[in-house]
Amino acid sequence: MERQRIGVFVCSCGTNIAHHVDVDAVCESVQGMPDVAIASSYRYMCSNPGQEMIARGIQEHQLTRVVIAACSPRMHEKTFRGACKRGGLNPYLCEMANIREQCSWVHSDRLAATEKAKALTSAAIRRVRHHEPLESLTAEMCPNTLVIGGGIAGLTAALELADAAHDVFLVEKTERLGGNLARVDLTAPHLDSARDLLTERITRVRDNPRIKLLLNSELRNLVGYVGNFSATVRTNGASGAHEEKTVDVGNVIVATGYQEFDAGRVTHYGHGKLPNVVTSFEFERMLRTGRIETRDGRLPQYVAIIHCVGSRNKEFHAYCSRVCCMTALKYSHELKSANPSCYVSDIYVDMHAFGKGCEDFYKTTSEVKTLFLMFDKNERPVIRKAAPSDDCDMLIEVNETLSGERIEIPADMVILMVGMEARSDSGEVARLVNISQDRDGWFMESHPKLDPVATTTDGIYIVGTCAAPKDIPDSVAQARAAAARILGKIAKGKIEIDGVFAEVQDERCSGCRMCNELCPYSAIEFNLDTRRSHVIPAACKACGACVAACPSGAIKGRHFTVEQLHAQIEGVLL
């Protein structure tokens, strides 16, 4: 094997690494290794000067390979590859040793941690010798976008893209647009009309010739990769007949929203049994029709609102549904407007009035004499029928935290603030578009802070409440954020494909076709003429399943070759 000139750069990460790993000792230990040209350390390798140091080092020492012992490659591999590129080195000729997340942060024995860091670094050095320069490829970026879900987030995203003169396919499962927001009368905290907001968006969507609206439709299949997806959408006709059509899109925005928590699951609230226990959405309906009445047509004198139904407890969902508190306050105002002489009890856990204007809203709700009663989230109010002698239909029994008393709250109507939960078909959607879900079923973003709308699958974006509960402004902002990302990509016209993918070495391939079936992305095609398989680079996600499975060892997993991994294994065992 040819001689290499390897530069090793060890990061102290402030004290993050240096605290438990003797960075200088690591440098020293690798100094003598074959091919190592330089080994140096720096406080923050990822910082501008740190990156500069790498780029300069490549030039000054004519380095042909670079090893960076620092944090996790998941954190900064891209950064350091960029630094190598600036230094004139192919970015794939760089390898990272993870001596922070998997070493300094998890071991407090300085000696042992330093030893481990040495081993990891030397493994990286051994591995990097076998690295090959890889070039990324480019592919076309189809300017069309598929938006799944016709709620406020989907509508906004579709409009944003279509207004910028790009075609959008808006797929909605039901027969109408608007999603859950269409069931709402007014929005918190300003009691603005939800209907006006939706009418504006829906009218503009309908009037926009760039938006192909597909109602009663579902995504059935999605193949391809970023910039070059092919989506199969099934539209259900009126008479049970359905038609399928396949469209080419470059990106997909998932805006499938949420479903309300089934209040019937909390048995002691008696939803479905007690006639005047209603969910927030049932109450919204009363508001829209102007009939805030008990089942037998009376105006309720006592109304109780119970927060966190299905949210913030061990039994159902641990998370907060984020919008219910303000919605509950809104109900207070609406109840008092419809019937000024009614008494509203608001039974809450913590008042999440965090948004703009919300604290003031909370105050005005207090001013209209809403009785706020607090309970512990792990306890549960119990609703029971009142005695005939009582002046109310129901009594809610709960331990009130702010007074320390066990109390009974009179109620003629109980409104259950049902939380949001991931849609029951979210697993299906996740599978179709190849994104992951967290344990609550919400779609996972690629990074909650860096990239809250992108997913780990390129070209697939998640916006609105399908990613986690959120209110209208935040959903709208996310929808536009995804649109911005897509507009940026469309503007460039082409996409870059990472240089890491599998390739079939023709001369070794026996044409057994075992790999064809194995590939989850159908990225391996069989050429009937040559009787050989080959990989479509843009579709390949570089998982390496085919590489490991090929009986004749004909498939090379770029950047994860057998030689590279063997060298690394030997290295870690030093």
Partner: protein, 144 residues
């Protein structure tokens, strides 16, 4: 000085490696005996990797992938799951105790679980002592 086993870990990039990173960001401590080799998916792990590791002086090998159903590549972990028992049998025939080679599922959010597995495995391998058949394996299996 007590015996400090060397364990090689093959971790899939999306779940287990991230989970291991999470153990780091959460500062959950575990023994320093594990040395990690990152692969993109547990399906990439060839049996020879394991043999190579054992031959090279490892006292144990830990393979971690996403939980069944969670694979970033849909079903790569199922492939690993199917390969593993065969490998184990092979190793057992060669006198390698089954406790030395382990397949575990660790998700990106299971930093604690990862640390627990490493701790447990290190203890077990420590109890088993160094892998004595290393030299035999070297002559039998090395070089493909």
């Amino acid at each position: 000085m007590s015996f400090e086993p060397k364990i090689v870990g093959f971790l899939c990039n999306w779940c287990s490696y991230t989970g291991a990173d999470l153990a780091g960001t959460s500062r959950i401590q575990y023994p320093p005996n594990l040395r990690v080799v990152r692969v993109m998916c547990s399906a990439r792990i060839e049996p020879t990797f394991v043999l190579r590791a054992l031959a090279g002086g490892a006292d144990g090998v830990l393979i971690c992938g996403c939980h069944p159903g969670d694979c970033h590549y849909s079903e790569g972990n199922y492939k690993a799951m199917r390969r593993f028992p065969l490998l184990k049998r092979l190793l057992k025939d060669h006198g390698v105790d089954n406790d030395r080679v382990r397949l575990e599922w660790v998700s990106a959010s299971e930093g604690q679980r990862f640390a627990d597995i490493v701790t447990d495995m290190t203890e077990r391998v420590r109890a088993l002592g160094p892998l004595r058949i290393k030299s035999d394996l070297q002559t039998d299996l090395v070089e493909r």
